[in-house]
Symmetry: D2
Subunit: 368 residues, 4 copies
């Protein structure tokens, strides 16, 4: 059972939504990385719900470092941090004990943990755990940016409404623009329509899914391994552990199924002595290895499974069929909040793969 | 960077297409698994090109076991096997030395291996390496079947032509039907159209991509880890290392982006004291853990990058732009051959995850 | 850089002696293991200094579970725990900033962490971190005992004084006797002499080392891997990460250098239909795999490096030679406190290796 | 079951003594390492028996590279190699089928592999497998030497006869002297006595054990991790998987048990602006991390278990007691052959740990 990911830079994650705390241990960092709590706060703000587009529950993301940080810099020792769980309203969940909510992990978890799991609030499966991912990712994103590597994510599609696309040849400006945004879209009109759709969906006691698109610019060529830790494999591995993710594609992805080889070609060319491709259907990855072009990927998020409408289901406790109507506070959409999470996990994977090739110290500044 | 995958049952892969041999080391098998060379041959036949739908090059897949097998059964020690490379026609590749073929890993590999790589025939990136995956997978598929777990793959889409869909609630019969097929489709008419399209594409010196759909029936509930080794993460990790794969989705995958929560629901119910869901949008996985329903996934394959039409590109050796027209024998499509590969890697992942939960000996027959 | 150990059951450790907290994440536990805080307290009491034989500093080992425990049982999710650092007297260390204390990790750490490390109190190298090992180990020892596996450790040698030896053929009674003891010896007279020697050494402002001997009874045969995770390899790996350990041997260990093969023989025999050996020079391990006989090992602990006598050394901060006389509270010996630590790490390794063979659920009670 | 060791540079080992071949996959090498087959042959010659001091069986160590090598340099892809098993005389083992030879892994293996193992010649436990270790090690030793890191091993004790000790402060000259030697001792007289003892022991149909001492000079400070992959932990992990190794100690090791802290001190000093210690009781490692001084370690080898004298034992096949007298060709000592093996595994560990800190490319020449 592996709650640790990575080869040289690793993240171990723990916590239940209604337990004492959630947290992580980030290991393999070089000494001397600036740990900027403002960066982390901003990243977590992009993840945390607020206003009309998210859950009413106010999640207090009060971060505490337990080890590995001294005077605002990483020591190089394992960096452990926790986020205490406060503002927990247990009564919203009592009526659901022993119930398998459709689309949720209640039943799967019951079969895995044999009844010993803390199910309230989703337990270890709660979207809240993503705060651990964004905290770790924020630390690494700053370091990557100082190495010229930019990561950014926008809402490509939400409930059928499409945003402007990323420039797959040169998205750097778009990526910079996105990171300051609470609701990350490139076209504000599209964003406005999306927000209205979210509100309507909330009134219908329903939910809506979407697709996020991430760009990674400035990654050197040569990163990845054909079998098995290809760049796509490593990114997909962590992306699929973000709750609600059900699909990952790179470059033209599933769109390739409709293309001929001649249409899908990325011809190489030279621009100022740099090797580039004139199209980027491959999303910056050939044979599992980066080719120096921007890495582009899209992730499919299913609609939130907790909806206010009545649903047929079972009680696995009593082994009988029943019906539920979920009360309380639930998100009609979480896709917009996941942008920060996606940035974070891509940063974790990229930093780790670069550390393997260039060494633990590289991310800090140089090499020996 | 790791050419070994798995936690308890692991596969290490090595080899270049034009080197002495390709092969693998399958470690962590229980003792006493039947190693049926007929099974392996059939699996590899599904992968190996023949007739009008594939490359003219006859790949001799003569398998040799070097260790770990005695009298037709696994010893439990590391099982190493090789497949010698014969029938290699080097002259087809000489003109391409130092050239970055569009869509191929030539340039990425040059940046990673600094010129020391064996580039001929695709080297370590060649689709030929998938024979190692099918060989390992064949060994595990038999053992899984004896435990009641069936895996099967068909061509969901090829160049726009669609096959009949898998029954996501109960695909067992379809999965059994598929494994005997050289060209794995559920609807023969669709299959005929696909074969004709492949021939036409070959005549146009072009190539075409597609989508494969895999079903896994009989997997117990409770398999997977929320973070980070979820069932989807582990399957996607290995699927993305199959050459040409550019997208992986589970259940409704990217289709979720158009659904409301109420449309995407999988209500639970009881059938003969068994817990089932009445729909299977989630592809048998909730919260990263299997729920007992069939696991369904789809994989996007880009069109083969080697096409006969002229293509603009560069010589990275001379650092100048150039044009190429690839001669020789190349596949217009490889999607149909990848069905066996996909079955194989899913078997590897599933067997490993079951071994972690139930122990090394479980796959053989029982437990202690 | 790996602060995580294990394959199926893993422990991640973090913390600095003078930081906010030390702690660990124990992952891969089966659900339903009893988490007995009394057990853990007793184990930590054996480790914690008290009275005349140890450091004056009162280490408050107030344990807090952050996740993975519900109503006194393991959930099966990652189990995170911390021990807050209180009662820290920083001023004892100020005079040593930038100084390389002989025998300590100050200089090594400076070279590894480039000055970013928290050096006070030994930082991440402090013996205090062993409280994380004993906490994790206590959880597993109870579960192993219920499976009939006993682990126990005594002080074999302290400053030249020898205890009675373990019965290498059947030490079960001795192992049970040892676990209740604060000062773990089999012969009380020898224990008394050892305690007196410790006091004398403290008065001399010096320190003394020793050898611990551990026995593991009831381990099934067949556990271990010839290359590379042999039973000896895995146990030695973790034992060598206990501060002050400089040697590990199994069975007759270094004593073998003086034996002929005929003298070192462990003849097999049958006793009540059980396979046993009539001698146990091999310490219960053949070819890296357990043979069912008790596993016996001895570990060498160097004398504590912090002594009150003046020592020549350098300031790496100023790059000049200097002399120091360490003030404050230091142990004249730590060997007797390490018995619990050694029990704990052996339990961690054994539990993990059994989980790999028999599955995650085995430790809880049965298998499926 | 882990037959793979390492984090960035890994070795996977496979093979049975009487199977088709033994071999390994060395992964994570940088591209462009010189693969000198002469180096490898010399290393294997030091391991292979010849003349009066070893087994009569002529082991043909004909090496074949299957992948990862092109024109005498590593490609950077997984490097697979095999050594075919020839000159196998199976009849020497027939009488031993189902017998548990004292000191051997027959019974342990039976319990682990449930009868499916190939037991002839020791199967996967044979000392012959160490040829895989020396082959991999030879490749890395050359690269390490070019980085200024020297590794050498001599026979410290054989059957009670002692060699001159290594200079623990500056052993570089001694290490260079040792590597050319077939029978690696520093004092030729002692070596002569050892050889005579081996012959006498052979005539007595007995065997004798010993202690090897290894020195590693030129290792930079800062290598290792306090918990759990300390330098001692990693070296010991692989050393203990060498057949017959039953003890590992660093620096003064078990000798510390007789020392006071004041006697065991390694004072720091400055020599030509370099930090050194004036003694080296700690064997170059403080807190699990290298301090720049030579790393010194000693390994205890038990006497070979196959002796010509009659031994009581059991047949586990028939579950009855019996007696055996082992015929055929067996070594009276293997310690002298293990020097090359010990050099090799230390090279593997050191190279891997340096690759983690400085990156995959460092070993080749520089960094980026």
């Amino acid at each position: 059972m592996k709650n640790t990911f990575g080869n040289t830079i690793t993240l171990t994650i723990f916590g239940e939504s209604h337990g004492p705390a959630i947290g992580g241990v980030l290991d393999g960092l070089p000494p001397g990385l600036k740990i900027d709590e403002e960066d982390i706060r901003k990243m977590n703000d992009r993840r945390r719900p607020a206003g009309k587009t998210g859950t009413a529950r106010r999640e207090a993301d009060r971060l505490e470092f337990l080890s590995g940080v001294k005077d605002g810099y990483s020591e190089g020792t394992p960096l452990a941090f926790i986020i205490r769980n406060t503002d927990v309203k247990r009564h919203d969940y009592d009526a659901l004990t022993g119930i398998a909510r459709p689309g949720h992990a209640d039943y799967s978890a019951q079969m895995k943990y044999l009844g010993y799991q803390d199910a309230s609030g989703g337990g270890h499966f709660s979207g809240r755990l993503t705060a651990v991912l964004t905290t770790a990712g924020a630390i690494l994103m700053r370091a990557l940016e100082e190495k010229g590597i930019l990561i950014g994510t926008h809402i490509s599609v939400l409930g059928g409404i499409e945003d402007q696309k990323l420039d797959t040849l040169d998205p750097a400006d778009q990526l910079r623009e996105l990171r300051g945004k609470q609701f990350a879209v490139l076209n504000e009109e599209a964003g406005e329509k999306m927000r209205m759709l979210i509100e309507q969906t909330a009134e219908q006691k329903d939910s809506v899914g979407g697709i996020l698109e991430t760009g990674i610019a400035g990654l050197p060529a040569g990163i990845g391994e054909p079998f098995f830790d290809s760049l796509e494999s490593m990114l997909a591995h962590v992306l699929f552990s973000i709750p609600a993710v059900k699909g990952v594609e790179f470059g033209s992805g599933f769109g390739f199924a409709e293309m001929k080889g001649s249409e899908a070609s990325d011809p190489f060319a030279l621009r100022d002595d740099r090797v580039v491709t004139l199209a980027n259907h491959n999303g910056g990855v050939n044979g599992g290895i980066s080719n120096g072009m921007p890495v582009t990927l899209r992730t499919a998020y299913k609609p939130v499974s907790s909806i206010g409408k009545p649903q047929k289901t079972i009680s696995f406790e009593k082994m009988e069929e029943t019906e539920i109507e979920i009360q309380g506070r639930h998100d009609p959409a979480i896709v917009h909040r996941a942008c920060a999470v996606q940035d974070a996990v891509c940063a974790l994977v990229i930093a780790d793969m670069l550390a393997v090739r260039y060494g633990t110290l590289w991310l800090k500044g140089g090499c020996e």
